[in-house]
């Protein structure tokens, strides 16, 4: 199982290699990190990617939560199955198909209603929200199905309005699933290159788009440095989330 980590470990190791030749080790240096931080195109792309990921993760979590609650309140019916199926669409479709379909929609809307006039940040975010909400809904539904309705029933018996129950009881109980869903949507958005490539426009190059175009030309030491930073970032995020979730569950049980 540690073998799963070998490719990434070697990538990180070689990001500290001074040599221009990626596979020949010369000596330890942080030269490529320095060049990476000086690269204005990379900085812009990073800023764009993180903004899009933050927006789309937040919207994905809201929509995914809404979908999970809607499904819980619906009785089995053809309409419910249809909604469930629709929610699966973004999970099953190949990325190239989703990307093409989204782009054609934006072109169609641009002609029909004049929006979007140009493609870029907004269209990428909308595309990311669409698959993000589907993943978020899976996680939140799983948690919601395990949740004991007795607390919500008690709140209702004590006279709380449905909105109040939703905000004060249902949502706080769901917090771990909401955090997990947000993180998943965030990392998926941060990583997406195929769909973004289709729906982007002039000037809006996200980090993965820049990475892909430079990687297609071959291995580059600057990309190794960037990849190492991204891996580190996600690892820190995951560990932090795990610790937060663990301490909150301990409070509840202890």
């Amino acid at each position: 199982m540690p073998l799963l980590y070998v490719p990434i470990a070697i990538l990180i190791l070689y990001s500290f290699n001074d040599s221009q030749l990626v596979s020949v080790w010369s000596h330890f240096s942080t030269r490529w990190y320095g060049e990476l931080f000086k690269n204005a195109q990379m900085r812009e792309a990073a800023w764009l990617s993180f903004s899009i990921a933050t927006i789309s993760a937040t919207a994905s979590t809201v929509l995914g939560t809404a979908a999970a609650f809607a499904l819980r309140s619906m009785r089995p019916s053809p309409g419910r199955s249809l909604f469930e199926g629709l929610l699966m669409v973004p999970l099953i479709l190949p990325e190239v198909l989703t990307g093409l379909a989204m782009l054609l929609l934006f072109v169609f809307l641009g002609e029909a209603i004049g929006w979007p006039r140009t493609r870029g940040t907004a269209t990428i975010a909308i595309a990311h929200i669409t698959f993000g909400m589907a993943y978020a809904a899976v996680l939140i539904r799983a948690r919601l199905s395990q949740q004991d309705p007795v607390l919500e029933e008690a709140a209702a018996d004590l006279g709380a309005t449905p909105w109040r129950i939703f905000w004060r009881v249902s949502l706080p109980l769901l917090a771990p699933a909401l955090i997990a869903a947000w993180l998943l949507a965030f990392t998926l958005s941060l990583d997406d290159v195929v769909i973004s490539s289709f729906v982007t426009g002039p000037g809006a190059s996200t980090l993965p788009i820049v990475v892909l175009s430079s990687v297609r030309l071959g291995v580059s030491p600057q990309i190794n440095a960037l990849a190492s930073l991204l891996v580190l970032f996600v690892a820190v995020l995951m560990i932090a989330a795990t610790l937060v979730l663990r301490s909150s569950s301990r409070q509840k049980h202890g």
Binding site: S23, V24, L93, V194
Partner: protein, 301 residues
Amino acid sequence: MSPKSLSGSRNIRAFTLGLPLGWLILLAFLPCLIVLAISLVEARIGTPPYEPLFTKGSGLLPRINATADNYIRLVTDPLYLDAFLSSIRIAAISSLLTLLLAYPMAYAIARAKKTTRALLLMLVILPFWTSFLIRVYAWTGLLNSNGLINNALVKLGLIAEPLPLLHTDFAVHLGIVYSYLPFMVLPIYAVLEQLDWTLIEAAEDLGASPLKAFWRITLPLSLPGIVAGLLLVFIPAVGEFIIPDLLGGPDTLMVGHLLWTEFFNNHDWPMASALAIALLVLVLTPAMIVYHLRRRGEAAS
């Protein structure tokens, strides 16, 4: 009070159902219809680079400019047919290889002590959270003709010349197995974890060899997990773009990659759309078959 009456309040219901449903209809269902429409028109030079499906007709009804040309090309031009066959072959072989690797892993995790199980599962899932693009890219540095694997083999004197590893079908299979391994381990583990191990003990008490007990009991009972895992690997693999793009060679033909080329290099949006519809059928067919088999199985039992 039941959850149903909890959401009985109309505005909560309107919010929780209306918002995601509207979003999905507009951004998941409608786009697929548009792809279908564009697959039925001819390409042209201009913006947008395709002929309109509807134009003003002589009477009240619009004229429909539909053509099956793109689909006829799809089945007559060997390039497209080869791409489909080769995608299916690559995805099927990779799924089976993933199964061979994942089954022992899932088995080992399911039989491990409860305390180590969570850690082992975490080790399998964790790479899934790091960037897919980076995980695939990491292999290019290893498989290069002057990459780590070739350098090591030459130094050890096992080979005289570097092996062509990168930009081959071999690298594509390797990339798929590596990237989608957790998708196979998890469903198989889920089934094995629920397995009633006393059945195997009973079989062995009755004189079955461990191998026979595995073959006749464990394996058949883990079939649902195996089928789910095969689907979860085959479906994304068959339409994969990044893996053939970075690890595949000029001869590697895959539909997802071809669609990308038709769109970005040849600017043939209608042909790309026809490929997308064919890919959709290819992805949905195995999912539907399994869905119906499972339904029938549930109905029978």
